[in-house]
Symmetry: C2
Subunit: 450 residues, 2 copies
C-alpha cells in the first residue's frame, strides 16, 4: 500500500478506535516508513498509533523519530510500556532513550526493565551522550585466548539471541584485556580445532569511553573500519561501536557546525520544536550582533554625522561594502571550518593558511572593489566629487575583504587551538567585524578623502 | 616513533637519497598516519616518499590524500606505477583513481593493470562518481540458491584472497537475480548440509546504480544497514556498498551544503587548491551579490538622496537592520537546509513550515526591533525627530526579519521542489533580498514618516 493510502487507512481506523486495524495495516511496513507516516498525524495521535504496534516495531519506530517528537510520545506512555520498548532496543539506544527521560522516570523504567537488559544498559548511563561511551553497545562477542574456533562457534550459538549483529570477535587474556580480534570470514575458514590466537589479528585502533564522538567519527573515516572496540584505562573491553552508529554522528556533527555558524545553538526542528524554545535558542546570537551593530550606529552618529550630511550619497554604498566583505568572510570561514571538520588542515598550519587566504582575499577585493568603484562612478556621475566617492568605496572594499579573510581564518583556528568549537563563535564575530569595516572604516576613509 | 621524529628521519633520508631508510622508517606506520606526515613535506617530495613504499601501502596512503594532492603525485608517476598501485585497491577506489586521471592516461593504466582487477574495475567506470554505481565495489560473495552452507564456505575459501572484507553473502537464482542474503553469523551457526535458501533472509532494500550517493547515504541511515546491494533494472546483482564508503559520502555532502550556502561552489583546500582556481570558484557568487548591492546603491542615489540629506542619521542604523535581518534569514535557511539534508522535513509541509517560521521570525523581529528602537532613541536623543527615527528603525527591522524568515524557508524548499540543490542558491538570494529590506525599504518607510 502506498504511503497516502496507508495514512488514509490508519486515520480511519483511529477514528473508529479500531486498534487491531491499525496493527494489521502497519504489519510488514518498515519501521522507518511508519515513522514517516506518523508525520502526517496530529502529535496527539502518535502515541495511540504506537500503542497498536508490537513492542519491537514500536521501539524501532521510536528510534527513527526526531528527539522532540520522541519526548512527546514518551510522555503519553507509562513506565511499564517504556520499559517494554527499551527491552527491545540495543543497549546504546536504550541508554539514549533513558537519557532523554526525566531522571525519576528513567530510574523507574530501569527498575521495570528485564534485569538482563538493564545490566547491559546501566554502565552506559554514566557516559555523556556525545562520547564513545555514549554511542557504544555493550552487547559483543568476546572469547578467551585459550579458546578454539569450535569453542567460539559454540559460544556464538549460545548468545546468538542477545547479540544480533556483530562483525568481529574480540579475544581477551586472563585479565580481560583485549589482545586481538577475528573477523567472521576468518572464523568461517578456520578449522574447528585451531586456537583463536592462531587466527586473530592485532587490534588496529581502540578508543576510551570519554573520547568525543566527533573524534570517533574521524577514526572511522581515517582507518576505514566497520567496528571499533572501546576499552577502559587498563585495556579491558567495555563495548564496541559500529559504523552505522557513526553515520548518524557524522551527520549530526556537520549539522552542529552549520547551525552554530548560523547562531542557532542547537538542532531545531522547524515543526516539532516549540516556538518558545526556538525563539530562546536563536535570540542570544541575534542580540549579540545587534548590540555590536547599535554600537556601530553610535559611532556613526557621534563621529560621522557631519560627513554624512555633507555627502549623503556615501550611505548608498554601505550595503555593497558590507555584503561583499561579509560574503568573502563567510566563504573563508566556511572553508576553514569544514577543512577542520574533515581533518584536512590542522592548527599548526595557521600562518601558511592565513597567507594563502589573504592572497585570495586581496584578489577578490581588487576585483569587487574595481567593479564597485566603476559602477559607483556611473551611478553618481552627476554628483560633485564622484571620483572621491569611488576611491573611498574602492579602498573600503579592499580593506573589508582583506580584514574578513584574515578574521575568517584566524577566528576558527584560534578557537580550535583553545579547544573551543571553531564553528561556535565565528559567525557573530565575523558579522560585527565586517560591519565595522563596511561602515565605520568606510566613513573614516571618506572623511579623510573629502 | 612520534610524528615529528618520523618527519625528521624521513627528511634526512630524503636529503641523503636513502630510499631504503625511508621504507624502513615508515614500515608498520599506518597509511593514514603516513598521509598526515606527507603534509609536512614539500609537494615535490611526496612522489619520492611514496616511491619508497611497497605498492599496497602506497595505494592506501594515496586514498587518504586530498584529491588535489593525489593529482599532483600521480602526475609524477608513470602508467606502470599507477597500474601497480591501482591493482592493490578495491574496485571502487581504483575506479575513482582512474576517473581522476586524464582520459588517455586512464586508458593506458587500465591496459597495464592485472586483467583480473581490470575486469572488476571496467564496469564501474561508466557510473558517475557521485552515484551508487560510483561508490559500489564489484568484489562480493554470491552463491546460487541451490548451494548448501558447505558449498558456500568452500566458495569463500576459494575467493578469500580477492574479496577481503564482506559482511553478507548474496543468494541469486538461475537468472542471476538477487533473491536473498545471509549474514556471516548465520552462516557460522548453520549446519554444513543446510540449503542456503533455508537460512537466507529477504533483502530489505536495494538500489540501482544511478541513484545519487546522497540518497544512498539516507538509505543507510534510515534502514541502519551495514551493506547495501546494488542491482540493475532486471534485478541482477552488480555490486555492494558498505557503510564505511558511506561515511565519507555523508561528510562530503554536508560539506557541499555548507560550502554552497557560502557560495564557494566546490570543495577547496586552503593550501592545496591553486590560488587561481580558488579565486575563480569564489568570484561568481560575490559578483552576483555585488551587482545586486550596487543596484540597491542606484535606487538609494536616485530615490532617497533628499531624505538622507535631510536626515543623515538614518544611515547609522542601516548596518543594524541589515545584520539583524540577515542573521534571522541565515538561521532560518540553515535550519531548513539541514532539516532537508537530514530528511526530517519534506517539501509537502511547506505551508506549515512557513507559518511556523514566520511566527518565530515575528517574535525575533519584535524583540530586536524594540531594543534597536530604544537604543536608537538613546543614541540620537539630541537629534530632532528622534522618535520618528526610532519608529522607522522598528518597522524596518520587524519587516526585515519577517521577510527574511519567509524567504529563508521558501527559497530552499522551492529549490528542492524544483529538484535543485536547496543549498545552492539560498545564500546570494537571501543576502540581496535582506539588504533591500535593510536599506531601500527602511529608507522608504523613513521617507514616509519624515
Amino acid at each position: 500500500m502506498s504511503r497516502p493510502d496507508l495514512t488514509q487507512r490508519v486515520s480511519e481506523d483511529l477514528i473508529n478506535g479500531n486498534i487491531e486495524g491499525i496493527k494489521e495495516a502497519l504489519t510488514n511496513v518498515h519501521p522507518s516508513e511508519i515513522a514517516s507516516i506518523l508525520q502526517n498525524f496530529d502529535p496527539d495521535d502518535h502515541a495511540k498509533i504506537l500503542e497498536a504496534l508490537d513492542n519491537e516495531t514500536a521501539s524501532e519506530v521510536i528510534l527513527e523519530l526526531d528527539p522532540e517528537q520522541r519526548e512527546d510520545i514518551l510522555e503519553d506512555f507509562d513506565a511499564d510500556k517504556i520499559a517494554d520498548i527499551a527491552d527491545e532496543m540495543d543497549s546504546d539506544d536504550a541508554a539514549d532513550l533513558l537519557g532523554e527521560l526525566p531522571e525519576q522516570t528513567a530510574k523507574t523504567v530501569l527498575d521495570k526493565m528485564d534485569p538482563e537488559e538493564a545490566k547491559d544498559v546501566k554502565p552506559l548511563l554514566k557516559y555523556p551522550e556525545d562520547t564513545a561511551g555514549g554511542i557504544m553497545q555493550t552487547e559483543l562477542v568476546k572469547v578467551s585466548q585459550n579458546s578454539t574456533v569450535q569453542d567460539t562457534i559454540n559460544w556464538i550459538r549460545l548468545i546468538a539471541d542477545e547479540v544480533e549483529d556483530f562483525l568481529m570477535i574480540f579475544v581477551t587474556d586472563e585479565d580481560d584485556k583485549l589482545v586481538g580480534e577475528i573477523s567472521l570470514s576468518k572464523l568461517i575458514l578456520a578449522s574447528p580445532s585451531t586456537q583463536v590466537t592462531g587466527i586473530m589479528e592485532p587490534v588496529e585502533v581502540t578508543v576510551t569511553p570519554y573520547v568525543d564522538q566527533e573524534e570517533v567519527a574521524k577514526i572511522f573515516q581515517k582507518y576505514d573500519v566497520l567496528s571499533l572496540p572501546v576499552i577502559d584505562g587498563t585495556g579491558s573491553l567495555l563495548g564496541r561501536i559500529t559504523a552505522d552508529d557513526v553515520l548518524d554522528v557524522i551527520s549530526e556533527e556537520a549539522s552542529e557546525d552549520m547551525l552554530q555558524m548560523a547562531g542557532v545553538g542547537d538542532s531545531l526542528h522547524p515543526l516539532f520544536t516549540p516556538t518558545v524554545s526556538r525563539i530562546k535558542l536563536r535570540t542570544p546570537w541575534l542580540l549579540l550582533t545587534l548590540i555590536g551593530e547599535l554600537f556601530i550606529a553610535f559611532i556613526i552618529v557621534t563621529a560621522f554625522q557631519p560627513t554624512l550630511e555633507k555627502v549623503a550619497i556615501l550611505a548608498a554604498f554601505m550595503p555593497a561594502i558590507m555584503a561583499t566583505g561579509g560574503n568573502v568572510g563567510l566563504q573563508t570561514t566556511t572553508i576553514i571550518i569544514r577543512s577542520l571538520g574533515m581533518g584536512t588542515i590542522n592548527v599548526k598550519q595557521i600562518f601558511k593558511i592565513i597567507v594563502s587566504e589573504l592572497r585570495v582575499g586581496l584578489a577578490l577585493g581588487l576585483i569587487c572593489g574595481s567593479i564597485a568603484a566603476l559602477i559607483g562612478a556611473l551611478i553618481s556621475y552627476n554628483q560633485p566629487e564622484v571620483f572621491k566617492l569611488s576611491l573611498a568605496v574602492f579602498i573600503a572594499m579592499v580593506s573589508a575583504t582583506l580584514a574578513t579573510s584574515f578574521i575568517g581564518v584566524a577566528a576558527p583556528l584560534t578557537l580550535q587551538k583553545l579547544n573551543f568549537d571553531p564553528a561556535a563563535a565565528s559567525g557573530p564575530f565575523l558579522t560585527m567585524f565586517n560591519d565595522i569595516f563596511g561602515s565605520v572604516f568606510y566613513l573614516l576613509i571618506a572623511m579623510l578623502i573629502f
